[in-house]
Symmetry: C2
Subunit: 362 residues, 2 copies
């Protein structure tokens, strides 16, 4: 099997090379490089100088074996299962980018572990913790009763989740206040006169989908109204799901006058569907989207969005994981963000009720 050694013909300097060069022992050199106080300042300076001069870099494999640490920060990432399954998980690029920035300058590398289903995600998480394939783990797609969180808390294995479960556990996490955002979007539409509001949501087993429904309902109840739960659709975060859901909602006898969309992908599908049945946003129907990559800035017609830059979440995930792997209390590593509303439409009925509304006949 090919060995890709550098072309200089000699291996990189090791701690033995440094020992031969300086006259100090391997143990002293190791302690000096680690900043141990049992080494004098003069000795430390001499060793650091020699290390710089020789271009010494500690070998990660030697360190890993002795310390038992992997120096890997693992991230679970969904494997999209079929070509053409467009835009599934595209926000992961920015999550990984944020995490990568947080890890920059640390000893840690970013290791991506793909999974195909939620059960597979649990199995991968179990294997990472059990076999010590990484020193810490980041994952998303949190369920209300996510067993990964229970398992990792019990194993005392460092992790940070993007999202929160609904179990009374203390663990590091970063999240968006989905209940608040859903409430704000829904309240805006109710204040604009809407009563038949559709919610294009994530799959209801996902914790934040439940949070979205809670916020949706709270807005109605605060207005003394019954929530239009018959107009709630839950599915995957694809443009196709957005489109199919929209077409289904507008086939009904009393279709929505407004839609709240879970993300930018479903929104694209929603807009595509509305266009195909001749409904104009801002005139025939109002659309509010949640967007974490700000791509809805380019949607035509423009839509009001609740925008949360996901790369910031990614950076915070990485920062928290480093702290958690360094032994910090997870109770101090929890943060929930509120997205910023970008109003691009008035989102109100604007005298529309008197006009005849086209519906899709079945």
């Amino acid at each position: 099997m090919a060995e890709g050694r550098s072309t200089s013909g000699r291996s990189s300097p090791t701690i033995k090379t440094l020992a031969a060069h300086t006259g100090y022992s391997i143990a002293t050199i190791s302690k000096a490089l680690r900043g141990s106080p049992v080494v004098t300042d003069a000795t430390r300076e001499a060793i650091l100088s020699a290390a710089r001069e020789l271009g010494y870099q500690a070998n990660a494999r030697g360190m890993a074996l002795r310390t038992g640490k992997t120096y890997q920060a693992a991230v679970l990432m969904p494997i999209t299962s079929a070509a053409g399954y467009e835009w599934d998980g595209v926000e992961y690029t920015q999550i990984l980018s944020g995490i990568s920035q947080a890890l920059d300058g640390s000893d840690y590398q970013l290791a991506v572990h793909g999974y195909r289903s939620f059960d597979d995600a649990c199995a991968v998480a179990r294997r990472i913790a059990g076999q010590r394939l990484a020193d810490g783990l980041i994952f998303s797609g949190v369920l209300a009763d996510d067993e990964r969180i229970a398992m990792l808390v019990e194993a005392d294995f460092p992790f940070v989740s993007l999202g929160r479960c609904r179990q009374p556990l203390v663990y590091a996490h970063v999240d968006v206040d989905n209940e608040w955002a859903s409430h704000a979007a829904t309240a805006r539409l109710i204040a604009g006169g809407h009563r038949r509001i559709g919610l294009i949501n994530a799959a209801p087993r996902l914790s934040y989908a439940l949070d979205r429904i809670d916020g949706f309902c709270r807005a109605f109840r605060e207005a003394g109204l019954e929530p239009s739960l018959d107009l709630v659709k839950g599915g995957d975060l694809t443009a196709r799901f957005g489109r199919d859901s929209t077409l289904a909602l507008f086939k009904g006898s009393v279709p929505p006058t407004a839609l709240v969309c879970v993300n930018e992908a479903t929104t694209l599908g929603v807009l595509s569907a509305l266009g195909s049945i001749g409904l104009r946003v801002g005139e025939d129907v109002d659309v509010i989207a949640y967007d974490d990559i700000n791509v809805s800035a380019y949607f035509n017609p423009p839509v009001t969005t609740f925008y949360q830059p996901i790369e910031l979440l990614g950076r915070r995930l990485g920062e928290f994981l480093l702290l958690r792997m360094a032994g910090e209390d997870p109770a101090g590593l929890r943060e929930v963000f509120r997205p910023e509303m970008i109003g691009r439409q008035p989102d109100d009925l604007g005298g529309r009720l008197s006009r005849r509304r086209p519906t899709l006949e079945s």
Copy 2:
């Protein structure tokens, strides 16, 4: 520093545990597990059985130190530099997904190395090869004279590039036939009567941007025409760039009647710009897009696209890297794909030349 050992209270079984359990020596056990022919079948079976029974998993760190291998497959991924820099590199999720699928079942983990600029990408590649941070490398964003390729070929360090440079080197790569695709798109528009064709392209230092221009020009020349090179714009692959370029092109005295777009992100921006200046695709202007995540299926109005599922490219990248790390000749690890055209518009002038064309006054 917290040690996340499993809660069973005992460490995972090591080869020493297996030795104590079976009565065989560590060396015999290692050879048996590796499939060495110097061990008898009976001995091997007994050892494999005991390994299964005890749930033995070889420790990657012990293996790594002794063999000198990292069991890491590195991928260079751009770090998006600012929040709001939307949709930059979103296709990486599907590339990583494809690579992850290819690596599944192998001993290799996917390690993501972020970079901020091309020079940073070169520095990271140099460090990965020089310090043996990984056993192989995958990267994209190939330049015509990409120094990463030259350096890694000289170092004989296993890698696969997504894209080709223009140097006479032999190395593993996966690519799309950009010259062919650009030619096909442009030829289609020329056949439809277009003469003023805009090319919303990638930055011209990128190898495939040059390939696109080559194909663009070849289509004109084959039709006995001069290419409309004044309508070629090169920049980053963002919706913003697509929009800004389009607005600039339509400010000109003789604006384009058709646009060829480098990817789905710039196309979104292009459509947004056209909508904002009142131009209708299929009527006032024709748009052909290159798309590797098939999201343009949801664009409204629909546009003709050249579609190449990028996850397939990702899988092939992973497959080739495993083969390359196993010592396979890079000359046998090269593949170029041709995207599939999905016609959603006739893309011809259709009697439009007689109509007055709105232009943007400066």
